[in-house]
């Protein structure tokens, strides 16, 4: 039936099955679906570091090429893929933590934002975005990752629970907290919000 359908009609899981058979077109399709969202995810999770995000996208897809059979086709590809990506981020956090400790706090890797921006003078979408990202970074990582997965990456609560290996209830409560916290924090941008 493969020849009767175009690759964009296949499910992620079916594409993975074809990748196991070394189907290049299946890989291309999966890449087209996930490369950009995954870069966005990595970028948000890895301190807006564009280069690092691209490296991580490369490594993530390289895992699929090297060991496609590590994915269990009975599972949801999306949640599996985000789990792998999430674990990569956690490993990176650990690495950075070690580096930070070794450099005795002199490493400024976390300070990637320009805090000198005059929030009061610039009422733009850009400002909102910067503030929003800053708030995300400052927020507890446990809450931030759930917020990103739900509201930016578009995963459902159930999928997030699967990705992070948490209960639905925990995800829901963290998500409610994070959403309320950020909405409250960014209320200063009401004029921007109200402009719509």
């Amino acid at each position: 039936m493969k020849f009767l359908r175009t690759y964009n009609q296949y499910t992620d899981e079916h594409l993975m099955k074809l990748i196991c058979e070394k189907d290049k077109k299946a890989f291309n399709e999966l890449y087209n679906r996930y490369a950009a969202p995954m870069k966005g995810y990595f970028k948000r999770m890895l301190w807006k570091d564009n280069e690092k995000a691209e490296d991580f996208v490369h490594d993530l897809f390289a895992k699929i090429i090297r060991k496609p059979e590590s994915f269990d086709i009975r599972r949801s590809f999306k949640t599996w893929f985000y789990s792998v990506a999430n674990n990569m981020c956690k490993n990176e956090y650990k690495k950075q933590e070690v580096r930070k400790n070794v450099s005795n706090g002199l490493d400024q890797i976390y300070n990637v934002y320009d805090t000198s921006t005059n929030v009061l003078n610039e009422v733009t979408d850009k400002l909102f975005k910067e503030d929003f990202e800053k708030s995300l970074v400052e927020m507890n990582a446990k809450h931030a990752e759930i917020f990103v997965l739900r509201h930016i990456q578009g995963l459902s609560i159930k999928e997030i629970a699967e990705v992070l290996d948490l209960s639905d209830g925990t995800v829901k409560s963290r998500l409610f907290y994070a959403t309320k916290y950020l909405a409250q924090l960014l209320k200063v941008h009401d004029p921007i919000l109200n402009r719509e």
Binding site: K22, K24, F132, S156
Partner: protein
């Protein structure tokens, strides 16, 4: 499946049912809070433009894909060769090949006598007691094990007798007798249950001291045997009876 956040983004406060309002109670209590949340969610959803991934990433991945594909091809090729080799090993009748090979090189297969001898040797090999050594005997301790061994011996002896009668080749008869001697030799372990007989002279055909309702003495050209009739299998050559202090012990 839609959740409360989808409802907030898609509907107006006035459109929400009581159940939905109750469900969203943790997030908003008033219409104003609902609207603030709605605006925030819509804004944060659109705050990020679609990320563009550098074409270099895709190029590298394409190269990796091609590499892994060719690597897999090599593995498959080697696996196929190995599979053919293994299958060939099981399909080709190596016995015949070896025999043909021997025939072609040494001409030994033409010797009918040797083939027959080989067959006889194979038969003997199949009977484990024929190959038991003295050191192995000492390890036998359980009476029932030995009894079953004796039964196996008798089977072997009877079988061999048929072979002897059928075979006219004296050389092969000698081989069989040699084997029988081995059997009888191994058939006198000390752990056996013994029936005591006072003197060797008492062990005669039909002797009352050793013959009863369960066993009797029989003789043939190879000697005198004590046969256990209930089992109808046990036979011990009296030639191998252990003589100690003029007493004769017959092993069963």
């Amino acid at each position: 499946m839609k959740d409360i956040f989808d409802l907030i983004k898609e509907q107006n406060y006035s459109d929400l049912s009581n159940e939905e309002l109750d469900f969203g109670k943790e997030l908003f209590e008033t219409e104003e809070e609902f609207n603030d949340l709605k605006k925030f969610l819509l804004k944060s959803e659109n705050v990020y433009s679609i990320e563009k991934v550098s074409p270099k990433v895709k190029e590298d991945l394409d190269a990796l894909f091609t590499e892994s594909k060719s690597y897999k091809k090599i593995i498959i090729r080697y696996a196929a060769i190995a599979a053919i080799f293994v299958l060939g090993f099981y399909i080709i009748p190596f016995d015949e090949v070896q025999r043909d090979f021997s025939k072609g090189t040494t001409q030994l297969a033409d010797n009918h006598e040797l083939i027959q001898k080989e067959k006889q040797d194979d038969k003997l090999d199949k009977e484990p007691m024929f190959r038991s050594s003295k050191s192995e005997e000492s390890k036998l301790t359980k009476q029932n094990e030995i009894k079953s061994d004796l039964a196996a011996q008798e089977k072997a002896v009877l079988k061999d007798d048929i072979v002897i009668q059928e075979d006219e080749d004296q050389h092969q008869v000698a081989i069989i007798r040699e084997a029988k001697r081995e059997v009888n030799h191994s058939a006198k372990p000390k752990q056996l249950q013994y029936d005591r007989v006072e003197k060797e002279s008492e062990i005669l055909v039909g002797s009352p001291s050793i013959a009863n309702e369960n066993r009797s003495a029989v003789s043939d050209k190879d000697g005198i045997f004590l046969q256990h009739q209930s089992a109808n299998k046990y036979a011990v050559s009296l030639k191998e009876i252990n003589l100690e202090n003029d007493e004769c012990w017959v092993a069963f």
